[in-house]
Amino acid sequence: MNIIVCIKQVPDTSEVKINPETNTLIREGMPSIINPFDMHAIEEGIRIKEKVGGKVTALSMGPPQAMEALREAFSMGVDEVFLISDRAFAGSDTLATSYTLSKAIEKLGGYDIILCGKQAIDGDTAQVGPELAEHLGIPFVTSVKKIDEIKEGYLRVHRMMEDGYDVIETRPPVLLTVVKEINEPRPPSLKRKMQAKNLQIPVWKKEDLNIDEERIGLKGSPTQVLRIFPPATKGERKILQGNLEEQVDRLVKELKGLGIV
């Protein structure tokens, strides 16, 4: 099976500190990582290949340094990687991003399964996966927590819902977005890591894709951020006084006063 994994490089928030005065993230010097949900997509792609054979291709759209994310994907066991990078793509919202990705995937061609992380941790929209499937005209299943069965021309997957999961049958070509429950991503192999260092990564620019210029970048993005503002500050923080029992008493009184108890 031919598997394509779409990955995004995001700022690593795992060692983020909060500025106590402004209550905002201090992101200075923060390294970049592969979006955590996408790590599970890469792992699942490799597992499918190990099970039924085939090839795993990783694709990323972003600035030149996103090559690092692709090198890491390669080190984990992905066979081939491509970067889609062009100033003309800058400012893309989810519609323009998914359109651009769809054009790159059309160029690659011959795929059976496309895997994406459920959402990126910097945008949290969960839109690029379903929108990409729509551009490609293929079905999709979101929030997949398990691939129950996979064989030529057949897939059975579990889709996470609020209160349980749906068991869904489908067939390739199909796009799946995955949640972290699906697997435990493997660490990169040392040997592949060495190979990844010297890997020549093809970079596709707008000219390389059969693309409608009206549909990419800022021009092709129907949404725009009008402005940003700090979140409303919460009500006063109350420090409870006294011994444990008094503190609990106080808490129950406060909650009662708020009509919650």
Binding site: F37, H158, D163, Y165, V167, R227, L244, L258
Partner: protein, 396 residues
């Protein structure tokens, strides 16, 4: 927006490496923020001269009004699951009513399912002027293909200017498909809506709730947004309200490329954390799986749900659907009680918009106390039984 004050910038290039998105370039010896900027603000504190500033100015946009003026009306996608209307749909009707009244237009609901006549009528009680009902046995299960097809066709025909849906599993799955098909914008997970003229201001948290962003879709219609459960209040239903029920013709040839074999319910009754008013969440401090029983006891007192930090899920003490935070779910209940959760940033981003946060932790320096409305420093195994007892006493 992030801007560089050219007259102050010394061209030292320090900011360039501070940007996780490579959005800063040097242009004629001065820093320049390119369109890749994701508004993360990392550069603000990097500049030794304070030349990088955050402004509230709006980018320019043109409204191609002639075409857009054909679009009128506010729509709510009313989600039902196995015949039960979801609360989020009713909450959206309340907010949709307000939006429609502000624009002096109609509020319509769209409901898709099988045997849902009664539910359609309920939507009128909750504020809909019109209800489009796609009622067919083939629609008993949710499918992206059928739901997407029906909603897209309806929108193309009726041309509403706004479409709202819940940011639920179903909404977050097929609504992006509809937006892509209609080539319009979609804003995920809104926590507030407002207007400038007929332009919908879609307010959503960005960067884990540390910044709020106002997103607009000026030149395409409909303006589409998913809204988190519990953001808006459910309106009071009025049985006397009159509205029109419009039957949607369901084509019998919608190709379904997925098939739902069955739904497997999570056996823990307290799992639906996205709609719960009260969430009792446990973390590493619980020590072992069986201590979640104590949390369940407290959750029962409140009729609440059980949440967990990533540490507790990764330890195998509780299943993933309970996980709250960056790689789990985002919640904003009325009351969030964090028990033995230290409060890593990844957890905080998933719960810090809760109305009231109670933190119970042994470590007085735990970051969870920074977002807590009420904090108790101490042993959860001592405090929780006491809390359960006192609440029961107060209630008599």
């Amino acid at each position: 927006m992030i801007r560089v004050k050219k007259e102050i910038c010394t061209g030292c290039e320090v900011c360039i490496s501070s940007c996780p998105y490579s959005a800063i370039e040097m242009v004629e010896g001065k820093a320049f923020i390119t369109e890749i900027c994701n508004l993360c603000r990392a550069c603000l504190s990097s500049c030794p001269e304070g030349a990088i500033i955050e402004t509230e100015e709006s980018p320019e946009f043109r409204v191609q009004s002639s075409e857009l003026s054909q679009y009128r009306g506010v729509w709510v996608f009313a989600e039902q699951r196995r015949g039960k209307l979801q609360d989020i749909s009713l909450e959206l009707l309340g907010e949709g009513r307000r939006l429609a009244d502000t624009l002096s237009t109609e509020l319509s609901a769209v409901i898709i399912g099988s045997n849902i006549k009664k539910e359609a009528e309920t939507l009128i009680d909750y504020g809909a002027d019109k209800v489009f009902v796609a009622d067919d046995p083939s629609l008993s299960d949710f499918h992206d293909d059928s739901y997407g097809h029906i909603l897209s066709e309806l929108i193309e025909k009726e041309k509403p200017e706004i479409l709202l849906s819940g940011a639920t599993s179903i909404g977050r799955s097929f609504i992006p498909k509809v937006a892509a098909r209609l080539k319009t914008g979609l804003t995920a997970d809104c926590t507030g809506l407002d207007f400038d003229g007929r332009i919908l201001h879609q307010i959503r948290p960005a960067f884990g709730g540390n910044i709020m962003a106002v997103v607009i879709c000026p030149n395409r219609r409909p303006q589409m947004a998913t809204v988190r459960p519990k953001v808006f209040k459910k309106p009071v239903p009025e049985k006397s309200r009159k509205g029109k029920i419009i039957k949607v013709l369901v084509p019998d040839n919608i190709p379904l490329r997925t098939k739902t074999l069955e739904f497997v319910k999570d056996l823990t009754s307290t799992v639906n954390i996205s709609e719960a008013d009260v969430i009792i969440a446990g973390g590493r401090g619980l020590g072992e799986a069986r201590n979640f029983r104590l949390l369940e006891e407290l959750a029962e007192v409140f009729g609440g749900a059980i949440g967990a930090s990533r540490a507790a899920v990764d330890a195998g003490w509780i299943s993933y659907p309970h996980q709250i935070g960056q790689t789990g779910r985002t919640v904003s209940p009325k009351l969030y009680i964090a028990c033995g959760i230290s409060g890593a940033v990844q957890h905080l981003v998933g719960m810090q918009s809760s109305d009231i946060i109670v933190a119970i932790n042994k470590d007085p320096d735990a970051p969870i106390f920074k977002v807590a409305t009420y904090g108790i420093v101490g042993d959860i195994f001592e405090i929780l039984p006491l809390l359960i007892k006192k609440i029961k006493e107060v209630r008599g």
